[in-house]
Amino acid sequence: MKTAMETKSRAPLIPYLLWMALFVIAPIALVVYYSFLDLNGNFTFANYKNFFSAAYLRMTLTSFWYAFLITFFTFVFAYPAAYLLTRTKHKHLWLMLIIVPSWINLLLKTYAFIGILGLYGPINAVLEVFGFEPTQMLFTDFSYIFVAVYIFIPFMILPIFNSLDKLDKSLVYAARDLGASGWTTFRRVVFPLTIDGVKAGIQVTFIPALSLFMITRLIAGNKVITLGTAIEQQFLVAHNWGMGSTIAVFLIVIMAASMIFTGTMMRGGRAG
């Protein structure tokens, strides 16, 4: 079938192609190249050997574990919220209100939690009213995961909301008419039909969660070291670009895998 602009010239594509070559292909190629260099710029496999050492593997595993927990809790809260939102009266207005906090600068929100979770913050004040001893909640696993989930929730809700919103309601009614319980309808009809939204939501949560470094520094107080923290450390503190690039290459591989995993989602424009 003819698409809209087949007869048109290809001139508009040129700046875009140049841009992509310069800022997608070249940086990735450079990172791969640097991952084979040692501190003096000589060719080496040492970075990779280092990466597969016990210390780095442990860090990678913890990084994955935290990212998994963050994604899991974000999903657990986001899906019901998205579902409830689609059933409200002015759903687009409410959705907008969910999205607004995500437009407030990330750093400001994180900074707010330094105060909220702190020893003299409001949460401890409330706990004290109920007779609990105030505890330092900052710099713990809990605070790290809580803040990360808080940050990611709007990004997870958005794609899930969109796929729920597109869902043909008559399919739900049909399932119910045919005797499916609410739970069965959800499990066999609603959820499978919104799986693309869920995948998109997981994608926008999991990979960023693997590479967070600002929240780990400010909220987890360097107790949690993620792959992102390690890259920042190698590039900007240790100035070991080779090692930093090696970790970056690993993240790029993970990213490619996730793109294949969600590949069905954005199939090059028109599916036919």
């Binding site: 809209a4 290809r10 990735i28 409830l84 920042e232 954005m266």
Partner: protein, 266 residues
Amino acid sequence: MSRISASGKICLAVMFVILYAPIFYLIFYSFNSGGTMSGFESFSLEHYAAVIEDPRLIVILIHTVLIALLSGLIATVIGTLGAIGIVSLKDKRMRHALLSLNNVLIVSPDVVIGASFLVLFTMIGAQLGFGSVLISHVAFSVPIVVLMVLPKLLEMNPLLIDAAQDLGATKRDVFTRVIVPYIKPGIFAGFFMALTYSLDDFAVTFFVTGNGFSTLSVEIYSMARTGITLTINAVSTIVFLITMLVVVGYHLVTSRARAAETEVQR
């Protein structure tokens, strides 16, 4: 149909409270005459005065907005042209490859984008500062614009173009008077998204900012690392108000556009 149980309402309400609490918490303490975010002493505007009296902070705010607007504009132009180009490709494999490439920057973790751009800028010997930050922001915004414009292009009926050409429209006319008006909502959404991505970015900027130049995110990071300063709270109130203005403005423009669209369809 759109009925929602009481418990559902409560869940949503709790969610909204939690989502907004940190923001209002920051704003509340920006008026605290004390120096901490616990124990409100008395109402004071001293922290706002501190923001206004700090020329460095004002310059950073201006830079942040400038970077967002400029990168949004440039990315919108490149991205819109790119989307039109992608749709015009006959080869399906080529199209698929380009779209995957497009998604790479969207899925890439910020840290990887930042680090790889740092390597790139160093390799070509570019100085880190306003220019490198601007280019980086354009770079990660272009794919978003493409994604926002693409659906509009795909839903457009190709017969519209044929009709215009049959009626004697030149290629330019087709572009400016048929395609662009049709995909305008997508372009607008793309620009808006680029704007918010730029304003919100920390990690990429952090890597390519060099010494001397700073955006709001990077500045807050370095301020927050030394502890709590209520100046940040005052800044956050200002940022919140600006964000709300932009959101309301965007909402008004899009709802007007939507109203116009339904008018036409009628």
